[in-house]
Amino acid sequence: MADLHFSDAEPTASERRAVLAALSVDEASDGAVVVSHPRVVRAGMQRRKQMRHQLLPALHALQREAGWISPGGLNFVGRTLGVPPAEAYGVATFYEMFRTEAPAHELSVRHVCVDPICALAGAASLAEHLRSQGHAVHEGPCLGQCERAPAVFIQGRREPDRVPADGSGPDSLLVSVTASAPETPSLLRHMIGRDHGHSESMSMEAYRERGGGAALDAALSLGTDEVISQVTAAGLSGRGGAAFPTGIKWRAVADGEGPKHVVANIDESEPGTFKDRLLCELEPLAIIESIAVAGLTVGAEHGWIYIRGEYPLATQRLRYAIAQAHSAGWLGDDAAGSGQPFDIELRRGAGAYICGEETALFNSLEGFRGEPRNKPPFPTTHGLFGRPTVVNNPETLLNVNEILRIGPEAYRSVGTEGSPGTKLFCLSGHVGRPGLYEAPFGITLGELLGLAGGVQGTLAAVLLGGAAGSFVGPDAGELQLSLEDTRAAGTTLGSGPVMVFNDTADMSAVVERLAKFFRDESCGQCVPCRVGTVRQHELVTQIRRTGRSTEPQRELLGDIADAMGDASICGLGHTAASAVLSAMQLGLLGDTAS
């Protein structure tokens, strides 16, 4: 690292304090992962390189303290962590939650979601109302609270971040088709009907009484090979949307050379998805246990949680759970009596859909811009810090706990041959009871909508898989919701969002918003996505304005879609046209003219 050049701007005393507090104190973990005091940081080049991954926590601290990332504050962070100011500025400007222009935010900022479900529920008038009350309002993308739309998240200025609906409204609805039979997998079994506002239920003792800890015990007695073979035999695939076989991923990392990492990807930002938020809020110790199972199975020393910045309650409860896991001996130099060191560090995102893409997440966590990396090489060999890395989302990890609890055969007793087990579906929009539903793979769309109290009014369309998914029409009630059936039908389950629209919804407005979402959330790294998402949004806007599409417009949309799908670096670009194209096919975007 060269000698760095900084401007003359100096931090205020409070900025300096806030940054140092964020860097030297690590709330929950102490040990395995580099936790350095600033004095140590200045010890040498190697140390500095190791410190860069603290850039995001440091920027969070500045933003909260000063209301923006000031030049003086940025200089201080850059000097402390050895990050060039231009690069730190590039990182700070990447995220929705950081402000890099004066004046600073004097007030806490109310983020209001304007994505389709919240828009239906009156997000625009809510934003207007909040403004009229003198609040600072930022209208932005999905906040992962679609079951209680319209969603608000308060980014605190000299107060903690919070979500007004947490603890004040009714609990979110949880339904599980499989919870009643003990020999079937159910992620929600112990979450349903519990008093989640009661802190006692979050204790390790209470968790153990519910059967917690069994997966970790089982994993340690079975050993690496048997755990992975059970996961493989169960046919578990990733629940984040890509459906990659979990056993293959774990095997590859287990076979790799250390140091290795396990990352829980809790950056769910797909519009319509809120399942991981609820899992972390309602059973955080299960998430910690499942990360430890993954880490000890593949021989990783370092566990990481990367969670959306917009999830303050889940973050708080996960931190509490990490602390309890330490006390219980699950984490530390001899994790759960395994003889292996394993620890977990939690990191908050700062508002960027793309950081849910696994390689973008690595870059973000390492203190770089959240731009996806080209694959191959894959995370199993070159993941976080270039090391072999397992990255899974909470739903996938909790399924491993269930496999270890009941064995692969019982696990496969529900679901389909190609998609064993259950899936969490996030129902939102025009259904009787929006909420989180667990059902075996293969349940039909009609049955699922029935479980959720049926469609309110006359069904116009269902968006499966969120912005990156596709629309199906009112005739899709018989569609079986399995990986293979949705693939055959040309659609996708994605991460499980099921967004329901009746005939009162302005569908062309919904489609235009989805196009805008991708325009806003493209990281800008590769040309097909950076420019393609803009051109797509411009076209959709114009089609909506005229109420019909012409042949040249449809051809151009198709051309853009093909290039984004074929030549983009990552999944964001690959799927950025899918909802728009399906809407066009279903006639949701106005008439087609020649």
């Binding site: 231009a86 800008g524 590769c526 393609g532 411009e538 417009q553």
Partner: protein, 313 residues
């Protein structure tokens, strides 16, 4: 590098891989890219963000090729060649994505000084005008609103080079050259996100106030003229930039003992630009401020010693 006659060590066993480019078998050393294999097979590949002296960042995506078994196209510039790969470089899918990348750039940027991109755009039939508003869409409404373009004022903050970011296609080359691919100065980085992403110093500080050391290595790798030597910018402004009339002379930098090779671009008996060959073993194309910009003395009036009268006794 071994020179003939000294240390005739047996060449290390370099593993070779054989792959198929458009149906032709090509063998390259393991670790080489598909792009290198294409070049070995005499297949020309368009590139924008790739350069021989920089680490591939594979962001422009104009070099994509079709790899059998791959769901999406793959970037030739960075994907290592593997034995048995079946590569198509001229399929309909490849031609389409290349055309669209070039069209996208043409619709968003001023490419009037990007001659290579213009050549490739002709080759692939890119038509950026498809995105412009026209009146045949819906009655009196234009087919589309005017497409958003990268709109930036020219930044002239010193006598050495200018930055015209409306021409910038975000190929990241300047960032790489300023950072750990060459200079390790890290004066610039990509800031912002999506279509609003731009190359910036921190808070868009003026260059003289930034970490910039004026090595000009960013200017040397820029493919679109977004970064331009002030000499070229000024000559273009008066219509006097004539590359065809320029002689290029290779010489050795006179400042220190490192031995950097310089290429002096001379027009009308004046140096108008200094570059260094990308394949030069000392510089890899990169120079420092003295070699890059310190040539004005050549054109200073010749030194004339003062006339003194010496009276001899």
């Amino acid at each position: 590098m071994t020179r003939s006659g000294e240390n005739p060590r047996p060449a290390a066993e370099t593993a070779l891989v054989t792959l198929s480019i458009d149906g032709r078998e090509v063998t390259v050393p393991e670790g080489e890219t598909i792009l290198a294999a294409c070049t070995a097979a005499d297949v020309e590949t368009p590139t924008i963000c790739w350069a021989p002296n920089l680490t591939p960042v594979n962001v422009c995506r104009v070099c994509v090729v079709e790899l059998e078994g791959s769901r999406t196209l793959v970037p030739a510039c960075s994907r290592p060649a593997e034995a048995g790969m079946q590569i198509s470089t001229d399929s309909e899918r490849v031609r389409h994505s290349r055309r669209m990348v070039l069209e996208f750039l043409g619709s968003a940027n001023d490419l009037s000084q990007a001659s290579e991109i213009a050549d490739w755009s002709r080759t692939y039939g890119a038509d950026p005008a498809r995105y412009e508003g026209s009146a045949d869409g819906g009655g009196d409404l234009p087919l589309r609103p005017e497409p958003e373009r990268v709109d930036e004022p020219v930044r002239i903050q010193d006598d050495l080079y200018i930055r015209a970011y409306d021409r910038c296609v975000l190929c990241y080359k300047c960032v790489e050259a300023c950072g750990d691919d060459a200079q390790h100065t890290f004066a610039i980085a990509v800031a912002g996100r999506g279509f609003d992403a731009r190359i910036r110093t921190e808070y868009d500080a003026e260059l003289p106030d930034s970490a910039c050391v004026y090595c000009g290595n960013c200017v040397a790798v820029c493919p679109t003229g977004a970064l331009q030597f002030r000499t070229e910018f000024d000559l273009r402004a008066v219509g006097e930039w004539r590359p065809d009339d320029q002689a290029v002379t290779r010489t050795v930098c006179s400042y220190c003992g490192v031995g950097c090779n310089l290429e002096l671009h001379v027009q009308d008996e004046r140096i108008v630009k200094v570059t260094s060959p990308a394949d030069h073993s000392v510089t890899s194309g990169h120079l420092c401020i003295k070699g890059r910009f310190g040539w004005q003395y050549v054109h200073a009036p010749a030194f004339e010693p003062p006339t003194t009268s010496v009276t001899e006794h």
